[in-house]
């Protein structure tokens, strides 16, 4: 049997099983593997190194500089160490729950990368409930934290886990309301369309520039989203669930070796995920001001196939990742700058400040959309100045 026959036979089987042929099946699996295993996990690992270097800069010391040039292989050494460490489980721990808890956390953090729009042509799954799906998976993470903490048979873990679950669950509401205001303005939940509408406003075009500059309410909503995302990821100033100085190690006290590594990795993946979502829905995703990247035409071809989509995608991914990197840097900056909030201050902040403010911002954004028919501040200024 020749290779062509084998492939066509495989194609028929896959067509029958999946309803689509070999290319889509391969694309589906490959995109999951590439995004999760080759992008998110290494990026999470490198983030640990970057965080230590940034911490060192803030604290005026050097940081890791032994392993590899400038210490850049430190994260691989750490990963290898954690992989080879003994996996101790307390005698009275609940075996089954202890084993399945990390799965919920990683499913929530890594799985939501399916809807992140890296470029106009590269998105894992262009669901028409994009942001809603990402929020749904975020709620799985709080479940994983609670289960892992409870199964550890340790008072510190249980306290940390319950506080963690209460915190992550409370801050989902300002998060949801901020996302809801974006959905109100753009009229779509699909991440691809949300980014597409944030193009530079041109005459007759759909774009209204970045959502964060759409109207003053959205500007405040961006900060509410950012604060709520910090609380969702258990980052300072909201890292009470894993408070190093109070609760030993909070909900992951009894997790050692790679299990702890998975929790830490999924925490970084969560940070990167929320940075990606914030970039996509507030900061314009892969759009640059003044340029229209989707019509970038350098005229390069290979034979008859135009290289335009590839070049456009590369530039778009570059823009997107730059914005994500900026937001992740700000998250790390905050970690080494701000003190931790007490648990009642944390809850007060959510229920008494963020939720009322985001309610009123939602109403304000809706009124603005209604009165100005969805036009942004920039478009209105442009109309007044007669530019378009």
């Amino acid at each position: 049997m020749s290779l062509a026959e084998f492939l066509s036979g495989l194609n028929t089987i896959l067509n029958h099983l999946f309803g689509t042929g070999l290319p889509m099946f391969v694309f589906s699996l490959l995109s999951a593997v590439i995004v999760i295993l080759l992008f998110v996990m290494p990026l999470g690992g490198v983030s640990t190194y970057i965080e230590r270097k940034i911490a060192a800069d803030f604290q005026e010391r050097i940081g890791p500089n032994r392993v590899g040039p400038l210490g850049i292989l430190q994260f691989m050494a750490d990963g290898l160490k954690m992989f080879l460490k003994e996996d101790t489980m307390p005698r009275n721990a609940d075996r089954m729950v202890y084993n399945i808890a990390p799965s919920f956390v990683t499913a929530g953090s890594f799985g939501a990368f399916a809807v992140v729009p890296f470029s106009a042509y590269i998105i894992g799954a262009d669901l028409n409930i994009g942001v809603f799906f990402a929020m749904a998976l975020g709620s799985l993470v709080s479940l994983g934290v609670l289960l892992g903490a409870w199964s550890s048979d340790n008072k510190w873990s249980l306290l940390g886990g319950m506080r963690g679950a209460a915190q992550m669950v409370s801050y989902e509401i300002p998060l949801g309301l901020a996302v809801l205001s974006v959905v109100t303005i753009c009229g779509s939940m699909s991440m691809h369309q949300l980014v597409g509408m944030q193009a530079w406003p041109t005459a007759g075009g759909e774009g209204h520039f970045w959502n964060v500059f759409h109207n003053p309410f959205m500007f405040v909503n961006f900060f509410i989203f950012f604060i709520a995302a910090l609380a969702e990821c258990n980052r300072v100033p909201f890292d009470l669930p894993e408070a190093e100085s109070e609760l030993v190690s909070g909900f992951n006290t009894e997790f050692s070796g790679m299990r702890f590594g998975l929790y830490a990795l999924s925490e970084f993946a969560d940070v990167i995920l929320f940075a990606c979502i914030a970039t996509a829905i507030f900061l314009g995703g892969w759009h640059l001001p003044f340029f229209d990247l989707q019509n970038l035409n350098l005229g390069l071809t290979i034979g008859e196939m135009s290289l335009n989509p590839l070049i456009q995608s590369l530039v778009m991914i570059g823009v997107f990742l730059t914005k994500v990197a900026l937001l992740v840097f700000i998250v790390m900056w905050l970690r080494w700058t701000l003190p931790r909030l007490r648990v009642d201050q944390l809850m007060n902040l959510c229920w008494k400040y963020l939720i009322p403010i985001s309610f009123f911002n939602l109403i304000g954004a809706a009124v603005w959309t209604w009165v100005f028919e969805g036009q942004s501040l920039l478009q209105l200024v442009g109309k007044v100045l007669g530019v378009y």
Binding site: G19, T20, M24, S28, S31, A32, V33, V35, I36, L37, F83, E86, D87, T88, P90, R91, N92, N99, P102, T106, S109, F110, G111, F113, A114, G124, A125, D126, F133, N154, K155, L159, M162, A166, V169, E172, I173, L180, V183, T184, I185, G187, S188, T253, E254, G257, M258, R259, L262, V343, D344, W351, I355, P356, F359, I363, A366, T369, W370, G374
Partner: protein
């Protein structure tokens, strides 16, 4: 549309399978020397005292219930506010209809939030009244020493 779901599902399944696969793979390389000290729960170097299951603390439960109500509200507002822009373009009373219904829904629950705020149910530390017995015993001790 099902194809997109399939893609999203493959992401979720891959992510959920990852921890067991990594841990099982590592079990071939990891040492395993269970020892009494390693198997007991960590309590800052002391032997663990008492059961690890703490007493009922109803503020967690209350936060969870209030969250549940607002979560349902946010989830139900999504499909309604999705239409807002479309309703504006259609013109006429449909935009007013969407706006008023959505924000009446929001307003009803906001009234609930305000009520909770005013009666102090939303405070994490409820007026320090559950600390009053602690404060009282301190006062008693101070009085005992003074007199």
């Amino acid at each position: 549309m099902l194809q997109e779901f399939g893609n999203a599902l493959s992401f979720i399944i891959l992510a959920a399978i990852l921890p067991p696969v990594i841990l099982i793979l590592g079990s071939f390389f990891r040492p395993s020397f269970p020892h009494e000290g390693k198997l007991t729960s960590y309590e800052c170097g002391e032997l663990p005292e008492g059961s690890a299951y703490i007493m009922f603390n109803n503020r967690f439960y209350l936060v969870a219930i209030v969250f549940l109500v607002f979560d349902v509200e946010v989830a139900l507002l999504f499909p309604v506010l999705l239409l807002f822009r479309e309703a504006i373009e259609i013109g006429g009373p449909s935009a007013l209809q969407v706006f008023s219904l959505a924000f009446a829904f929001l307003g009803v629950l906001f009234v609930g939030l305000v009520y909770e705020w005013k009666t102090g149910d939303i405070d994490w530390v409820k007026d320090a009244s559950d600390r009053r017995d602690v404060l009282l015993s301190h006062e008693q001790q101070a009085d005992g020493r003074a007199s």
